[in-house]
């Protein structure tokens, strides 16, 4: 039984120009009540800009936005809030030292407060508790944010929206930091919110989840509206094709190169919460680490890289026992680590691209007096810019001026420039658009072909299963399973990761 469509929001002919870039070019989209409307497109397609217009963070050059029949030329954050828009960005807006209840009502204090001199903590806790109950999530309103997991924090962000009776909930890559189980929970919650009449505008780069939860998909490209469709009327290939405006192969990773000698061997390593970790890694091999968030994958990576201390056990590199007490030592011995959070740990955004690329090898390309051999540095930067096809204006520009995919290439380039023996990749394609993702897969294949030993951590199941040669699955900081390529299946990994197998 088809209900009559009810529009909550239509944007009409929105244009926005930043300097020389037309970020939005006459974009018109209708959003209906009670739908999950996915916005898809590569980075720079204009999704985020559009969101900023709707939430009032930016003002369009022309066009209009119609909320519940009322037309606005421009929104302000206040106006947008009163029209019922709530946005959950990738970076949460939470105060770590305050409680859940305080966070939910921050900036939106209860009306009853105005009549009182002092604020009534109990009342906040009670109201917040009701909201959380309505959402059917198990979070205590008096818990401090700093003690919570990322997934819980995200729920608090959603609770903020629910507490305001949001009509439109915008979510930007909400599943990026979540484990598989948490993603399932989030989807259920989205379903419940939708039933209660909320419209969800959903941005994600992950194909399979778009097909699972979206009622409609709108593709944007280069600031233009391309098409809107229901998921059943467009195939994944077509969708990707529309986003990239070119044919992009989805992950295809048959590897044809032989793996050679064992490079890295861990024997009963413990530390950073992990226990009894043993594995070996060969040249040219890609070893995947599977597991839920918090299972210990990143913890293991940081241990191998010396960012945390190995308390017991042995680490062998090329037949020699090594100690890594600091990242500096790890780098020296040929272990490189691409961290999961590119913006915080991977690259130094406020420094030039060239500086970032040569950072790990700076000492090696300097003379005894400490002076950097400028020509050598320039040559290395140029070589890697070309090899990694980093799209940039000038190598002197800050890394922050690059798109996500290109930032990640800078991080990869800096480690490859250091000529490592072991490369640990922690979520190498998170927040990277489809086209750049493929390029990064291509690069990873090249590294392995050349004999680099690679450890891959990924929450993207397709990625993990397609790229890895072997899998180690972790659960609760221990290795719970090992799978060879021919045994790979999503179900097996999930079962092991959740401790069923």
């Amino acid at each position: 039984m088809e209900k009559k469509k009810e529009l909550v929001l239509s944007v009409k002919n929105i244009c926005k120009r930043y300097g020389g870039i037309q970020a939005l070019d006459h974009v018109s989209i209708d959003f209906e009540k009670r739908e999950t409307h996915a916005l898809v497109g590569e980075n720079g397609a204009g999704k985020s800009t559009l969101i900023k217009m709707i939430s009032g963070a930016e003002v369009p050059d022309s066009g209009e936005m119609i909320f519940d029949g009322k037309s606005y030329e421009r929104m302000t954050p206040q106006l947008s809030k009163s029209a019922g828009v709530s946005t959950i960005y990738q970076e949460f807006n939470l105060f770590p030292s305050l409680t859940v209840a305080e966070n939910i009502y921050m900036g939106d204090e209860l009306l009853s407060d105005k009549r009182k001199t002092f604020y009534d903590a109990g009342e906040y806790v009670e109201k917040a508790g009701e909201v959380l109950n309505r959402m059917k999530v198990d979070i205590s309103p008096t818990e401090l944010i700093e003690h919570m997991t990322t997934a819980q924090m995200q729920l608090v962000e959603i609770a903020k929206a629910v507490a305001k009776d949001a009509k439109i909930l915008i979510m930007d890559e909400p599943t990026a930091p979540l484990s598989t189980k948490e993603t399932e929970d989030l989807f259920e919650l989205i379903g419940r919110l939708k039933e209660s009449g909320v419209t969800i505008i959903y941005i994600s780069h992950r194909m399979e989840e778009l097909y699972r939860i979206a009622d409609r998909l709108t593709v944007m490209r280069d600031g233009k509206y391309i098409l809107t469709s229901t998921p059943d009327k467009i195939t994944r290939q077509e969708l990707i094709c529309q986003m990239a405006n070119r044919k992009v192969e989805e992950i295809e990773f048959h590897h044809t190169w032989p793996t050679k000698d064992v490079v890295l061997e861990a024997k009963n390593i413990a530390g950073n919460g992990l226990e009894d970790i043993s594995f070996s890694l060969r040249q040219g091999e890609i070893l995947g680490l599977g597991g839920l968030l918090g299972a210990g994958r990143t913890e293991l990576a940081r241990l191998l890289f010396g960012a945390e201390k190995i308390e017991s056990g042995e680490l062998w590199l090329e037949g020699k026992r090594i100690t890594v007490n600091s990242p500096k030592q790890a780098v020296k011995q040929g272990i490189a680590y691409v961290p999961e959070d590119r913006k915080i740990h991977g690259a130094i955004l406020s420094l030039p691209i060239s500086w970032n690329i040569t950072m790990p090898i700076l000492k090696a390309i300097s003379g005894k007096n400490g002076i950097i051999r400028q020509k050598e540095e320039d040559a290395i930067v140029e070589e890697h810019r070309q090899a990694f096809r980093i799209k940039l204006g000038s190598v002197k520009d800050h890394v922050s001026s690059l798109s996500g995919g290109n930032q990640q290439k800078v991080v990869l380039a800096k480690w490859i420039a250091s000529n490592p023996k072991v490369l640990i990749l922690d979520e190498p394609t998170r927040g990277v658009d489809v086209g750049a993702k493929q390029e990064i897969y291509g690069l990873i294949a090249d590294f392995a072909k050349k004999g680099l030993a690679i450890i891959l951590i990924s929450s993207d199941m397709d990625e993990l299963l397609n790229i890895s040669d072997r899998l180690i699955v972790l659960n609760e900081k221990r290795i719970v399973g090992r799978l060879e390529k021919e045994e790979f299946s999503q179900d097996k990994v999930l079962a092991m990761a959740s401790g069923v197998l």
């Binding site: 960012a307 500096k328 991977g346 955004l349 950072m359 400490g370 002076i371 950097i372």
Partner: protein
């Protein structure tokens, strides 16, 4: 186009202000625009200039050091004690003085790195304690009686024109520029101040680097302290009070970020020169110290506010 223009304007704004000040004072007072007076200004800003170079290292590395003024006071008293009371060779005494401030700087860096105490607090404690020690050792009285030849370092001129402290400052500036722009160590300072954790995960020894910034500041503070001692010809327990604030003002005027990771030696030195020109010009015009302070404060605020506006415009 306008966007480009505003960026260039911002980049050279501080230099423009410097030129405008010189032209302004020259018009208002003929005595200002003279070679002799220029040399005077150089002599006056030399100590600030020397310390500003070290301060820029620390600020770029994301730190702060409020103890430099007290370091100078205590060190000068110590040197006087060693020469006058203990009869030590003056050169040796001065070397020991510089070693002392370098050690203080290193200690500051060590405490801040190992305990995680905010630099503001750690060095404030150091400032207070060292100043107290200077008074205790000197009983609150200035110590006179260093050999006359030492005064050449503070008051002498090369070829009868260029002040010796100015030469020392130029050498220090060249050293600072080389270190910051040409060596991996300087690059590490920027990395440390921009994003410490990312720097660490790139294999930089962030603890060592941070301590090094403070140690270098201590070293340069020691050199400035020697100049100070030789200029005044005496060790005074209350000298260089609030000196760190002048240095901080100079660095910030010159575009060095107090949040770390940004700034240049040239900028900071022009900042110091602006303060020198303001002080000198206003003295010549007969404005008293208190007025000078008001003007300095107003200029600092104006420059920083303007800078912050033009920054947000860009976005």
């Amino acid at each position: 186009m306008t966007h480009k223009f505003s960026e260039i304007f911002r980049k050279y704004m501080i230099f423009l202000i410097f030129i405008v000040l010189i032209i302004g004072f020259s018009i208002m007072s003929p005595a200002f625009f003279a070679v002799g007076n220029a040399m005077n200004i150089i002599r006056q800003i030399s100590m600030m200039g020397i310390v500003t170079v070290g301060f820029t290292f620390v600020l770029i590395g994301g730190g702060l050091d409020l103890s430099v003024g007290s370091q100078i006071a205590l060190m000068d008293i110590l040197i006087c004690c060693m020469i006058i009371d203990a009869g030590m060779n003056p050169v040796l005494a001065m070397v020991i003085g510089v070693v002392f401030t370098t050690a203080v700087g290193t200690f500051n860096g060590f405490i801040i790195t190992k305990t995680g105490i905010p630099p503001l607090i750690a060095t404030l404690a150091m400032q207070t304690a060292l100043r107290g020690a200077a008074f205790v050792i000197s009983n609150g009285f200035p110590k006179y009686g260093i050999p006359d030849w030492m005064k050449l370092i503070g008051q002498g001129n090369l070829f009868g024109v260029f002040p010796v402290p100015g030469i020392i400052m130029v050498v220090v500036i060249v050293f600072g520029i080389m270190l910051l722009n040409k060596t991996y160590t300087g690059r590490h300072f920027y990395a440390l101040g921009s994003n410490e954790e990312a720097a660490r995960l790139t294999g930089i020894n962030v603890h060592f680097t941070r301590i090094l910034t403070y140690a270098l500041l201590g070293l340069l503070t020691g050199i400035a302290g020697v100049v100070m001692l030789c200029r005044t010809g005496s060790g005074q327990p209350n000298i260089a009070t609030a000196f760190e604030m002048d240095v901080l003002t100079a660095a910030v005027l010159g575009g060095v970020s107090v949040n770390g990771g940004k700034g240049t030696i040239i900028g900071a030195i022009i900042g110091a020169a602006i303060i020198g020109v303001l002080n000198n010009g206003m003295s010549i015009m007969g404005a008293n110290d208190y007025w000078q302070q008001i003007i300095k404060g107003a200029v600092l605020l104006a420059v920083v506010v303007f800078d912050s506006f033009s920054r947000s415009d860009k976005k």
